[in-house]
Amino acid sequence: MAWPFEPHHDELRTSIRAFVEAELAPNADEWEEKEFPDWVFTRMGELGFLGLSYPEEYGGSGGDYLCNIVLAEEMTRCGCAGLAMGVAVQTDMAVPPLYKFGTEDQKERYLVPAIKGEKIFCLGITEPDAGSDVQNITTTAKKVDGGWEISGRKIFITNGRRAHAMTLVAKTDRDAGHGGHSLFIIDTDTPGYTVERTLDKVGMRASDTGEISFTDMFVPEDALLGNEGEGFYNISWELQGERLIGAAGSIMGARRTFEAALAYAKERETFGKPIGKHQAIKHALADMATEIEAAQQLVYTAAVKVNRGEYPVREISMAKLLTGEVAWKTVDKAMQIFGGIGYSMDFPLQRAWRDARLIRIGGGTDEVMRDVIGKMEGL
């Protein structure tokens, strides 16, 4: 047990680890080829892992936020980050706004089955022409008799093909700037909702990523999630959880890669000794471990603040930025240490290398993080 975790977190960690190692990791190679199956959600729902920090009245376990961090950390043992990402979209990205902003009726209809793993969720923010710049999305929801009519297009949507429901951000008032966005909760079988294609990605290949279009899609009034016009602020809130869970997972993934590189460096010999005993490699590993420690402590600092009900945008942005950089640096250094075998498609390192590159792009690029931090620093 190490700060900031308590004994009950360690117990949870042990049980998640047992599940991940027994039921997920053995399938990693296969799922990497053809995406992971939907039963992962129902199984994790059965085990209670999709509702760790939600109240028991909705089927959750009533735990604290650090339980979510434990889940993200242990999911890295599944051997393919794409699977961990698909699950994280459910637990920490698409569904939290339902709990935070939803009505009791919406919670009954969507949050409860999400926690059970019966409904898979995706999150619709990014568009072909607007990603980091959320304010400039063009998907619009127009008020019509009895509901809303939505038109537009979303891209890079994790769980996009398999999802039963989408948490969507759309413009409800073109002229209102930050006050012109609203959130919706959409059933993906609504007429007008089309999965145009699934995208082929360089990494995170166990996850499915969709491009979705909405053509004159009618949704009832109660599809509106939270107050009209507050969508920009509400999705900004969502992004904090998304970034922090991404940071926690990616830095723990980096730690796994470091451990693999360390083990290899002790085993592989050149010039009569293990390569890890050559000072250049030893010091490279020391630097990797040091940077991982720094970034992980920053993640924990932010997580403790969230756990107390604070809203630490600054620390979360920093954690997202630093973990992304450190994770990428770590996998690349690891590839160097592994040499030719690291470059081989028969060996899992290249997968970690490809997977790790995404965290610097998804959930807000490095550049957006620096803009956020810099502005908060008064620059």
């Binding site: 590993l285 630097d287 040091t290 720094a294 920053l298 600092t301 502005k375 620093e377 620059l379």
Partner: protein
């Protein structure tokens, strides 16, 4: 709630309300009695020794030491607070001198000295009446502690010490120096013993060294020729010095890390204030994206360095022996502080290069971090070793 930037300190599991009160009082002292003199002391390349007396009066040397010797401890957390606040004094030589006394020389007496030795050197040190230094490093042995050449030879009930020591903080004006010497040249790590040598002992000479940074510090080169001291000056058992030094490294490096993070933050603030003041092409240079992003990177690393340092401190206070975490914090924060200082010089442009601006001082002062207290290369060796490399 939306985009609130104010939040409570996350580390209140380390620092209690009493610690924060202590922080306020140390900060008040530093800003009233040290900071206003920093420029003048830097120009003079020295500071008055009476500062020790004043710090002693205020009780700031005694927080981790027992009440029996005039301390108010043991409370290492409180001592860490004092270190953080001393780092705000505006002159690295001053904070390092106070630290060399508080965390090096006296810590050995407290941890390994006998009752009489504590009354003789620790108690007046806590009062600030005498100033101490620690002498391990030699011209031919720094990081390689077991390789030191200074010898102590038994002669009846006395010891006779011969050798030289270098880069000794407070060495030039110290009233007593804790000296590591070889008592058994064939015993390797187990052949080193600690002794107290008092200034004025025949055969002991100290020469002040000029340094790139830390200019107010009285760093000295010591020569010991046939220095005769009684066995009462031996600290700890014969042959125990290496282990004592290794044991105290943890605290020494936590202290250095705390100072380096605080220093990096202060330098960052200087750089940022300038970047917001200075205009180019009709806007503050800090508002150009390239500088905004560089400041974001610095601020991020400072937070990370602080988080890892506090975690090492947390583990130390819990009674663990966080060798790895301490080495990581020391390595990371030393490199960080220098990086931030170099960026501070850069953002100041020509002014950054001028002796009248503080940027160059931070740059020179922080360069010692990756060298002193175990170089960055040694830290990487230690970290590698903890992983079995």
């Amino acid at each position: 709630m939306r985009f609130a930037t104010e939040s409570r300190a996350v580390n209140d599991d380390i620092f209690s309300a009493e610690h924060e009160e202590l922080r306020s009082s140390v900060r008040a002292f530093v800003s009233k009695e040290l900071l206003p003199h920093a420029q003048e002391w830097e120009a003079a390349e020295s500071f008055p020794k009476e500062v020790f007396k004043r710090v002693g009066e205020l009780g700031f040397f005694g927080l981790k030491y027992d009440e029996a010797y005039g301390g108010s401890g043991p409370d290492y957390t409180a001592d860490a607070v004092v270190t953080e606040e001393f780092s705000r004094c505006g002159s690295a030589g001053v904070s390092a001198s106070l630290g060399g006394h508080k965390d090096l020389a006296t810590l050995y007496i407290s941890n390994f000295g006998g009752e009489e030795q504590k009354q003789r050197w620790l108690a007046p040190s806590i009062r600030g009446e005498i100033v101490g230094g620690l002498a391990v490093t030699e011209p031919d042995a720094g990081s390689d502690v077991a390789g030191i050449k200074t010898t102590a030879r038994r002669d009846g009930s006395d010891w006779v010490i011969n050798g030289s020591k270098t880069y000794i903080t407070n060495g030039a004006w110290g009233d007593f120096i804790v000296v590591a010497a070889k008592t058994d040249p064939d015993a390797g790590h187990s052949g080193l013993t600690l002794f107290v040598v008092e200034a004025g002992t025949p055969g002991f000479e100290a020469r002040r060294m000029r340094m790139l940074g830390w200019r107010t510090g009285q760093t000295g080169e010591l020569s010991l020729s046939d220095v005769r001291i009684p066995d009462e000056n031996r600290i700890g058992d014969e042959g125990s010095a290496f282990y004592a030094i290794m044991q105290n490294f943890a605290w020494e490096r936590i202290i250095m890390s705390l100072g380096q993070v605080t220093g990096a933050q202060l330098t960052y603030d200087i750089a940022k204030n300038y970047a917001l003041e200075r205009h180019a092409f009709d806007r503050p240079i800090g508002k150009f994206q390239v500088w905004r992003h560089r400041f974001a990177d610095m601020a991020t690393r400072i937070e990370a360095g602080r988080a890892m340092t506090y975690n090492a401190l947390r583990m130390f206070i819990a009674g663990e022996n966080p060798i790895k975490e301490v080495a990581m914090a020391k390595l990371y924060t030393a490199e960080l502080a220098f990086h931030v200082a170099d960026e501070c010089v850069q953002v100041h442009g020509g002014y950054g290069y001028m002796m009248e601006f503080p940027a160059q001082r931070a740059w020179r002062d922080s360069r010692l971090g990756p060298i002193g207290g175990g170089t960055s290369e040694i830290m990487r060796e230690i970290i590698g070793r903890t992983y079995g490399l």
